[in-house]
Subunit: 236 residues, 2 copies
DNA sequence: TAATTCTACTTGTTATTACAAGTTAATTAT
DNA sequence: ATAATTAACTTGTAATAACAAGTAGAATTA
C-alpha cells in the first residue's frame, strides 16, 4: 500500500524496458495517455510524469494530437547515452572484456576529478575494460567507483552488461547528471595495442563524472575511443 | 485572456533570464514553489512545470526539503552548451573572426547530414569562423543554415555574438535538440594553419545537427577543435 | 552544554477535473 | 468525385486538493 517506488517511476521503467527490449520499435506509437491510465489504473498526471521522463531520456517524442512516438535511440547525455556505452551503440553488437577485473584499491593521488572526503576515505573499485563493436575494439575504459555500500560488487559478473544497468537494478543507484571533458589525443603504445591502432593514431579521450541519486556518490570514467572507422554518435 | 504563450513558459523565461542576468547566482536558492505561486498568481503544478523545465535545461537543481538551487552553468546539450560555443566557455574570453562571411550558396552535394526537400530547395547560408579563447584559436567551425525566412541575415553583424542568441532573439528560432557525430582526427594543412597547430596534430571533429522549433528548419555545423591546451568541458 | 524532539518549512507524489489545441478520418455537402 | 465539415480521437495547459518525505532550526530535555 505504501510504494516506496513511485508509480510514475514504475511505469517509466516498464515502458523503457519495453522500448529497449524491442516490444516498441522506432516509429511505433505508444498507447495513448488515457489508455495507459486505464491499463495501469493511474491518472493522467502520473502517466504524463512517466512519459515526460521518457521524453527527457530521449526514448520517445510526443506530438500534440498524434501521440507518443518511439525514438530511435535514447537521447544522449553528453556524447554517449546516460545508460552508458551499451545503449549508445546497441547491446547486440557489443562485447566487453576485462583488462583488469573489479578490485578495491586506494584512489590515485592526482585523480582526474575532485573527490569528496567520503569518497576518498572509502576507497575505490577499479576496473579496466575493452569494449568491442562488431568484434573491433572501440572503447578502452578505466572506471572508478567509490566503495560505499556495494555488497558483493567486485564478485558480480559484469561482462557484456552495462555497468549502469547493474547499479540501477541491483543497487538502486541512478545517474542524474554529471560533467565531462573531451579531447583528441594521439594513441600511446598501450592504448594503441588495446584498440588495435598504430601508435600516434588519433584517439578520442573522455573524462567523465556521473552524479547519482545518492549524495556524494559519483562514478568516474576515463574512456579512450577509436573513432577511425565510425564516429561516436549521440542525440541531445 | 487567451495567452498564446503558456503561463509556465512565461515563468520559465522570467527565471531563466534572472539567472542568466545574475539576479540569482550560483548556489542561490530560488523562492519556494509556494512563494512563486503567490507572487505570480499561479498554482503549484504550473510553477513546478516551469521549474521542471529549468531543471531539464540545467539552470537549477532541486533538493527535496531544501529548495531549488541555481546551477553554475546551463546543462550542456551534447558537449557544448545549447546556447552554442559562446556560453560553453564564457563569452568574456571569446573572440570570433570570419574566414568566410555569411553568404547564400547551394548545398554541398554530399552533405554531412540528410536534408529535407524544403531545405534543399531553399539554398544555404554558409559561413566559416575561427573562435579564439584568450587569443588562441580553439574552434574552426563551418556553419550551414537553411535560407528560409531570415530577412537581412547575411548582412547582420555576427562577430562576437552567439549565432544561437541571434536566432533566438531576432527570429524566434529556438534549438530543441539535435544529433552529433564526434571523432578524433589528425589536422590537415588547412585546419592546422587555422588553429595554429602542426599538421598531423590531434584535433576534435564534431558534426552537429540542431533541430529547432520551426519544422524542417535545422542548423548544421562542422566544428574542428584544438584540444591540446584545454579540454572541451560540458555538464549534462 | 549537548543531545534529542518537535515543528515549520521545503519539494515529491498522486488524484480529480476541465477545457484548449492539434490530428485524423469519417461524414456530409457541393 | 471532390471539397468542406464534423466528430472523435490525441496531447497540452491549468486549477485544486491532500498527503508523503526530506531538511533545518527552534524548542525541549537530559
Amino acid at each position: 500500500m505504501k510504494p516506496r517506488i513511485p508509480q510514475y517511476k514504475i511505469l517509466y521503467e516498464l515502458i523503457r524496458k519495453q522500448i529497449v527490449d524491442g516490444v516498441y520499435k522506432e516509429g511505433d506509437i505508444l498507447p495513448s495517455e488515457n489508455d495507459l491510465c486505464k491499463v495501469h489504473s493511474l491518472t493522467r498526471p502520473t502517466v504524463r510524469h512517466a512519459l515526460d521522463s521518457l521524453v527527457n531520456q530521449g526514448f520517445i517524442k510526443k506530438h500534440q494530437g498524434k501521440g507518443s512516438i518511439v525514438h530511435k535511440l535514447p537521447k544522449g547525455v553528453g556524447i554517449l547515452s546516460i545508460s552508458g556505452t551499451t545503449s549508445a551503440l546497441g547491446s547486440k553488437n557489443l562485447r566487453s572484456e576485462f583488462i583488469i577485473k573489479p578490485k578495491v584499491q586506494p584512489w590515485e593521488d592526482d585523480f582526474i576529478f575532485q573527490l569528496s572526503e567520503l569518497e576518498l576515505s572509502s576507497g575505490c573499485i577499479y576496473m579496466e575494460r575493452i569494449r568491442f563493436f562488431n568484434e573491433a575494439p572501440i572503447f578502452y575504459d578505466v572506471n572508478y567507483i567509490p566503495n560505499i555500500n556495494l555488497p558483493r560488487f567486485t564478485s558480480r559478473n559484469l561482462e557484456n552488461k552495462s555497468l549502469f544497468d547493474v547499479l540501477r537494478s541491483v543497487y538502486q543507484i541512478e545517474v542524474k547528471g554529471g560533467e565531462q571533458r573531451i579531447k583528441a589525443i594521439l594513441a600511446t603504445k598501450t592504448i594503441a595495442s588495446y584498440l588495435h591502432l598504430k601508435e600516434g593514431a588519433p584517439v578520442l579521450h573522455l573524462e567523465r563524472k556521473f552524479e547519482t541519486n545518492k549524495p556524494a556518490f559519483n562514478l568516474y570514467s576515463s574512456i579512450y575511443c577509436n573513432t577511425n572507422e565510425q564516429s561516436i554518435y549521440g542525440l541531445f
